[in-house]
């Protein structure tokens, strides 16, 4: 089964996904709070398009929070209906899965196809955390695809393409800007796995600054161009506060799987700005230490960062977690060093059942309340935290054991005799 030919497996997986998208599932899933957030919800996108068509500025209300680029795309080139939506969302996932396979090949420096290609495509296309948000037509699907494309371009050393794709991804979701640092570091080196043989980053700090500087400028230019295009398309600056601003000020407290909404529901108003700042800065802290610790393998730093952001970002959905889970397929060398894969999987099993259940008890049956759902999002946070901690642990331990195997560290101990104490 695992050695299935990629040329057969990939099209059949995509065809299966397309068939699913044509069932009645999307209409029931699109309102689900786990699968899409106010920033990615399909009904809100339709509402914005409707307002736009009828000459009302969609950004004058509080409902529409999608990028003007999506607005102009769907109101001109590509009218949004049942069929185009099914095709477009499935195509986006297919593209993302293909990019993931390309990243795998670049990391392994493969030119020929391998049996694992199909498995990696399946890990993306059959991952329920990816599948369900796509069926719900959440625009997070596009964000994931764009990020994976950017990573793929970075693996191939194509700077302009990487930065442009990341700029588009950032434009759709401001949080993606945090991926810039590991992506640039990846651009400057190779995607080949150095987890087992850690080494200092091949360039000194001044060199990095010197080489990355033009990239930063280029990225800023792309961002400015996109912002200008968005302003022209939507006819004003109103979109900035409604889309990017929402990420920083959390105006819409519709429940989601993340940790922000409940906290800010309970918050007294005069503490709000302070804690918004704390929560946002907390997110911005991660790229640097992860990039320093995994300087030998920036792709792994980026992978760990996807997990961190999926846990802590302001409007997360299952799609963000899905990206982290599916990307795990790229790093088989870490599996042996994971400490708690089975319990993590069990916590994920529990909370993926508890989330919809408590959501139903609170908002459907009316027998529960917000605390029920909040409790299940905390369990979800634990599940994600376990996964991220285990990924970071396994990535670092792979380095220590790899060094021991090579005989670098004293050489006295045999490879299986190694154990690491956690500080």
């Amino acid at each position: 089964m695992l050695s299935m030919n990629f040329d057969i497996a990939f099209p059949s997986l995509v065809a299966g996904r397309l068939a699913l998208a044509y069932l009645n599932l999307p209409d029931t899933l699109q309102h689900d709070h786990q699968l899409s957030t106010p920033l990615t919800s399909y009904p809100r996108l339709q509402e914005g398009l409707y307002l736009f068509h009828n000459g009302v500025d969609p950004y004058s209300g509080g409902l529409f929070r999608h990028s003007p680029l999506l607005l102009s795309l769907f109101s001109t080139v590509l009218p949004l209906n049942r069929h185009t939506a099914a095709l477009l969302w499935t195509a986006s996932d297919a593209l993302a899965a293909w990019a993931l396979v390309q990243i795998w090949r670049a990391r392994q420096q493969l030119t020929a196809k391998t049996p694992r290609d199909s498995l990696i495509a399946a890990a993306y296309l059959l991952n329920p955390y990816i599948l369900l948000p796509t069926l719900a037509r959440s625009t997070a699907t596009f964000e994931n695809a764009l990020l994976l494309l950017a990573v793929m371009f970075a693996c191939r050393g194509k700077a302009a393409a990487t930065l442009l794709t990341l700029a588009v991804a950032t434009h759709l979701s401001l949080t993606s800007a945090l991926y810039l640092l590991p992506l640039v570091l990846l651009l400057l080196t190779t995607p080949v796995s150095h987890l087992a043989s850690p080494r200092p980053y091949p360039y000194a700090l001044q060199d990095i600054v010197k080489r990355a500087g033009p990239f930063m400028v280029e990225y800023t230019v792309y961002m400015l161009v996109l912002a200008g295009a968005a302003t022209l398309a939507s006819g004003g600056w109103g979109w900035v506060g409604k889309t990017w601003g929402a990420v920083l000020t959390l105006p819409d407290l519709t429940p989601n799987v993340g940790l922000w909404w409940y906290f800010f529901t309970e918050m007294f108003d005069h503490f709000r700005p302070f804690f918004l700042m704390v929560f946002s800065i907390h997110l911005a802290i991660y790229p640097l230490p992860l990039s320093i610790k995994f300087q030998h393998d920036p792709l792994y730093a980026l992978y760990a960062l996807t997990g961190v952001l999926a846990t802590f970002k302001p409007y997360p959905s299952l799609a963000d977690a899905g990206l982290f889970v599916s990307m795990a397929a790229l790093f088989p060398e870490t599996y042996a060093h994971m400490r708690t894969p089975f319990p993590t999987a069990l916590v994920h099993l529990h909370c993926s059942l508890l989330l919809p259940l408590f959501h139903h008890l609170w908002l459907g049956a009316g027998t529960g309340n917000a605390n029920f759902y909040y409790a299940s999002t905390l369990v979800w946070g634990v599940a994600m935290g376990l996964g991220v901690a285990d990924a970071v642990w396994a990535g670092l331990v792979a380095g220590i054991k790899g060094a021991a195997k090579k005989g670098d560290a004293a050489g006295a101990c045999a490879w299986d005799g190694w154990e690491v104490a956690q500080e």
Partner: protein
């Protein structure tokens, strides 16, 4: 400096040598402890879990009920329902009885009732409906009337309903004529008061459950594939609360409260408590849970539900009687809730977030009649009229063990969760056991004897644990469950009698047994045996199902804990083929026995799914049966 004792303890905990070394040693010791003690821990958790289930009816648990919502103020009003209204109810009853005697059609009766509402000056209408199910078509006509609130905009409403058939024997054909007469007479009476802050909607639904299902679905604009219902002519606001009146007998001695809704949803306890207080103090009618008589009312009589085989002394013991009484209530509750059944017409309203109960006038020679039930309903409606927001303050998760005694969720939920945890421990233990194999025991012992020094008696070797075979068995059995469910919804399969049921049983069991081929390990493989991995996954899945269900439907979780807890933990292959087959057959009987032993139950569950969307039938076919069949497959695999 801390005192020496403290320092000694700390030193013992932290160790004296290298900090990291101690940490590793401590972690190893803990892992070792967990590994050595997990079977005992599992047994302990099972013992506590099952023992807890048994103590649920005991007086160890339970507390008095109380009113939580201050706005309710039950029993604080004067009631004005009087003999003139009773007389009016008697006249309605006469007309209804004459219609019954001349076998009037259901459409004729509904038209009569809606005409009577109109004569009172209340807008009224009828609704025709028809359900098509695998066992035939059910059709009828509902009558309803909407009395607009004189004091408010009509954004909220209360429902007073009576079904044509009483809940006696789950709608066995007993007519609820006095219930309908009460509703009609109440409509006439309540119209005379200007204090209503919510619309009053009077519904006389046809049949037992089907009429109300058609009416409430149409009211909320919900369509259902197999239901053809006339759209409602009149509408009102959001329905918050509803009282369903069930009065089948000539007179009554007690009012019983029925509260379980579809899919195990319960109404807010404040509703039951308010009714209980009002009935007792305004109406002077004692309240029962269901129609179970409280033995404290009859101190001289040994109640029927105390087992006959108990010694006389124990049968007369008060504690035994109390336990038996509570157990009877709990078992009845589990019977309704676990199967997702509504215990009366009120239960259909729960799916739309309406808190509703049925007041059941327990048939007796006396002393109560229309006078008492009218006052109780009037006062209860006045109480509900006070609500400023939906009922939310009191409990939604509770066990009502007596009319005024209940258990909070914390007192009963741990029982199934502990059983689930025991299974989880077993599953994780099996996962760890699959990884490690002992090798060279004999060799090790020989060495020990020869050299006379401490050589480890056995060497643990690590085995790879392929998950794909076990996962494919799991996917296969659940797919089989879906196929089984689709087969059951074919007309005539469940009604086909013993032969069809036996054939279905045999084919599904055979197909499940065939699933063991998916996990057959190649001969001489050094991998972990696939039965261990399958057992681990099976236990973890079943444990998750039990724990997660427990917050939705306690009774179902408790039933699953009994049927799956210990049996699934005991699955293991045997050396002899006969023993393996016997074990598999036992598991197949546990998984699919319902096909053979309770075909009526199965047909009823399926009908409930088709008409009322009760997910018990698909749950059993798609979740329960496959999980137990997986344990059967575990027994079939090579040890």
């Amino acid at each position: 400096m801390p005192p020496r004792i403290l320092r000694n303890i700390l030193a013992k905990l932290k160790g004296r040598g290298d900090k990291n070394l101690t940490r590793i040693q401590r972690r190893r010791a803990l892992a070792d402890l967990a590994w050595r003690t997990y079977p005992r821990l599992q047994l302990l958790l099972f013992a506590i879990g099952y023992a807890w289930l048994l103590t649920i009816p005991s007086t160890l648990h339970g507390q008095r009920t109380y009113i939580d919502e201050n706005a309710l103020q039950p029993g604080q009003v004067n009631t004005y329902w009087n003999w003139a209204d009773v007389h009016r109810a008697d006249r309605y009853l006469e007309q209804l009885e004459s219609m019954r005697d001349r076998n009037a059609s259901s459409h004729e009766t509904a038209t009569f009732i809606s005409n009577e509402f109109r004569k009172l000056g209340i807008p009224a209408s009828t609704q025709d409906y028809a359900f098509s199910t695998t066992s035939g078509t059910v059709s009828g006509t509902n009558a309803y009337a909407v009395l607009s609130s004189p004091r408010a905009s009509g954004t909220e409403a209360m429902v007073i309903s009576a079904s044509r058939l009483s809940l006696t024997g789950e709608g066995d054909g007993t007519l609820n004529l006095r219930g309908i007469a009460t509703v009609l007479s109440l409509a006439a009476y309540l119209k005379g008061y200007s204090l209503w802050a919510k619309d009053l909607v009077f519904v006389v639904s046809d049949g037992y459950l089907d009429g109300m299902q058609a009416w409430i679905s149409s009211y909320h604009g919900v369509t259902q594939g197999n239901l053809v219902a006339e759209p409602l002519q009149l509408s009102s606001g959001v329905i918050w609360t509803a009282l369903n009146i069930d009065y089948p007998g000539h007179s009554f001695s007690h009012l019983g409260v029925f509260f379980e809704g579809l899919n195990g949803r319960l109404p807010n306890q404040d509703l039951i408590n308010s009714f209980q207080v009002i009935s007792r103090f305004t109406g002077g009618v004692p309240v029962l849970v269901y129609d179970h008589f409280d033995q404290s009312e009859f101190p001289d009589r040994v109640p029927d539900f105390v087992p006959k085989w108990l010694p006389q002394g124990m049968r007369r013991n008060e504690a035994t009687q109390e336990y038996a009484y509570r157990a009877q209530n709990v078992m009845r509750h589990i019977g309704y809730q676990a199967r997702g059944r509504a215990s009366g017409v009120h239960g259909l309203l729960h799916q739309f977030r309406i808190d509703a109960i049925t007041l059941f006038a327990v048939p007796a020679q006396g002393p109560h009649g229309f006078h008492a039930i009218g006052r109780v309903v009037e006062s209860t409606l006045r109480t509900l009229n006070n609500l400023l927001e939906r009922l939310h303050a009191s409990f939604f998760f509770y066990l009502l063990v007596g009319p005024a005694t209940f258990m909070k969720i914390g007192a009963f939920l741990p029982a199934p969760v502990l059983v689930g945890t025991a299974m989880l421990v077993g599953g994780m233990g099996a996962w760890a056991a699959a990884r490690w194999a002992r090798q060279g025991r004999a060799q090790g012992q020989a060495e020990k004897r020869e050299e006379g020094r401490d050589v480890p008696a056995a060497r643990w070797i690590e085995r790879p644990r392929p998950v794909a075979p076990a996962l494919s068995v799991i996917v296969y059995t659940h797919a089989l469950g879906i196929a089984l469910f689709c087969l059951c919804t074919w007309p005539g399969i469940l009604a086909g009698g013993n032969i069809v049921a036996t054939l279905l049983f045999a084919s599904v069991a055979l197909a499940a047994g065939g699933g063991s081929l998916l996990a057959r390990a190649p001969a001489g493989s050094t991998q972990a045996p696939s039965w261990m991995i399958l057992k681990s996954f099976n236990l973890c899945l079943a444990s998750t199902v039990i724990s997660v269900t427990s917050v939705l439907n306690f009774s179902l979780a408790a039933t699953l804990a009994v049927f799956m807890g210990l049996p699934l933990s005991l699955s293991a292959p045997s050396r002899s083929a006969a023993a393996r087959l016997t074990k598999f057959t036992l598991y197949a009987l546990l998984a699919l026995g319902w096909l053979l032993f309770v075909p009526g139950e199965a047909a009823q569950a399926l009908r409930n799914w088709e008409v009322l969307r009760v997910w018990f039938a698909p749950f059993v076919c798609i979740v329960y049966t496959p999980l137990v069949l997986q344990a059967g497959v575990v027994c079939l695999l090579s040890p």
